[in-house]
Symmetry: C2
Subunit: 313 residues, 2 copies
């Protein structure tokens, strides 16, 4: 089943203790699309500038990602520069140039309209809603957001959240959105705002899913579910880990006939798996070079990391 | 199989957002003993003052904990006062009175000498080693420590670690001990210092075990294992959560015939279970009132929280 994703396609310059990369292909929609492409068909909606060349186009094409919704505008693409030299868990932003993204008005190609899944990556909630409203018949809507929208565009965000089924945010964002320091109370509050399910990401500690009675057809809310992150001896570049998690998570869900608790839980593992690959190299380097076998092998390691009984002999 | 534990038996005054408790029975050896007592026989070595009365004695007696190694000294027991008002994840120490603990010289009753398990709770590594050396024939030695000993008594600690089989410390302590910011590299370094296995506690995110080839008879180091903590809507008092984890963990191991990877993993879950009970009430209140059924029920919730396939129908 096809996923349409709207978000940023950008260029990043990143410094980490492992080194530096200049103007690499990046952006939430890029990480999401590449991660999801290993599971299902992906269609991207974004805007890029004249610096987006055949070389970048080929990355999407190689992974079968539909770019007919990728608008080309005069000027430069969204650019971000950040440093993780002080703290691998949190980027210090050194420069943000919105460029062509400043006047982004998402247009949905007709060929995208039969997508059954929609992911609203972290952009202005007004734009997220505009896309959501033009695709009223999708089966499942996933979404992301960040502190800036929660703090300064709260009423717009709350309006958008009414149309999101599964929200993926981090600990800080969840607590900020709910206005409480307890993570469980925060989750319950967020689940009254629209989302049926909430995935709270904990960085190196994995992610926890919280469910409402509306999460599944059964009308019963399962206990929370916690998926691990892989303990890694070196995190080369954490950029895009959360978007890759979302791509693996949503991509797996879209590849399955029904959203059951079992599918949701496995999707959390696939999210962690894709995030763990992303941070092994700069930019989307590792994400471009995966095989489905490597993904399944790492899924088995995630299982061994958390399950009392070993499946391997 | 019996565990001997050496550590502090103390009184605490604690303030948290949920309220305050004055001079309640506490101390690492107390939390450890109570948690472990649900799984196996426990023998405690500590020193208390004249403020330790029949009432406190009865708490140990009710749980079948052997207190013949509990020395009575003139003066007051170890007293600690702390506040979690600003941060539930980290105590602010307001007062520490060592009192009778200042001249503690652990003596091992002869009746303790056939203990097969020894746990060295967080005290001066010189005292830990003194106990360890007097019990050369134990089957397994567990240990804990803290930043103060790592920073200011490093050479003593390193000498003591040579006699510890399973070390239980938190993220910060592990990184500090190894002198590296990467948690996996830190774990590998610590596993060269003596401990065969390392359990790194992550507070609300659970704990991760790292293994060396010496961890089990097989001579093969399993992948790391991550146990969850329970997402709780209210943490009343986090004091003693780590010691209760150690008690549940080590108590379960001592109740089993052999230390296999499966036993170690289940022990991690029981550790998390006992920690999750402790923080539900002030002091040792909850830990005093448990049943084995409640423990098994929560173990099942921990399984559901982490396992892809549900065991309950």
């Amino acid at each position: 089943m096809a996923i349409t994703v709207v978000g940023s396609v950008a260029f990043d310059t990143v410094e980490t203790p492992s080194g530096r990369i200049d103007r690499c292909l990046a952006g939430a929609a890029t990480y999401f699309s590449l991660a999801a492409s290993y599971f299902t068909d992906v269609r991207v909606i974004a805007v890029v500038g004249e610096d987006f060349t055949e070389k970048e186009e080929a990355v999407f094409a190689t992974h079968g990602i539909d770019t007919r919704g990728l608008e080309r505008a005069e000027g430069k693409s969204f650019f971000w520069q950040g440093s993780y030299l002080d703290n691998l868990n949190e980027a210090k932003t050194l420069q943000t140039d919105l460029n062509v993204f400043a006047s982004f008005n998402p247009k949905i190609p007709d060929v995208y309209r039969d997508s059954e899944y929609l992911f609203l990556a972290n952009i202005d909630p007004v734009l997220q809603r505009r896309v959501r409203e033009q695709m009223p018949d999708v089966k499942l809507v996933g979404g992301d957001t960040m502190n800036y929208w929660i703090n300064d565009h709260r009423s717009n965000l709350l309006e958008t959240l009414k149309g999101v089924d599964v929200l993926l945010i981090n600990d800080t964002e969840s607590k900020l959105l709910a206005g409480t320091r307890n993570p469980v109370k925060a989750a319950h509050d967020v689940l009254t705002m629209g989302p049926k399910s909430l995935v709270v990401k904990h960085g190196e500690y994995g992610a926890t899913a919280f469910f409402s009675p509306r999460s599944f057809h059964s009308g019963v809310a399962p206990h929370p579910f916690r998926a691990p992150a892989l303990p890694l001896a070196e995190v080369v570049d954490p950029t895009g880990a959360g978007d890759s998690f979302a791509g693996g998570f949503f991509g797996y869900i879209a590849s399955q006939p029904d959203l059951t608790p079992e599918v949701f839980k496995r999707a959390m593992f696939y999210g962690g798996v894709m995030g763990s690959f992303t941070v092994e190299q700069f930019g989307t380097g590792r994400l471009q070079q995966l095989t489905r076998d490597e993904i399944e092998e790492r899924f088995a390691i995630f299982r061994e990391l958390t399950h009392l009984e070993s499946q391997r002999s």
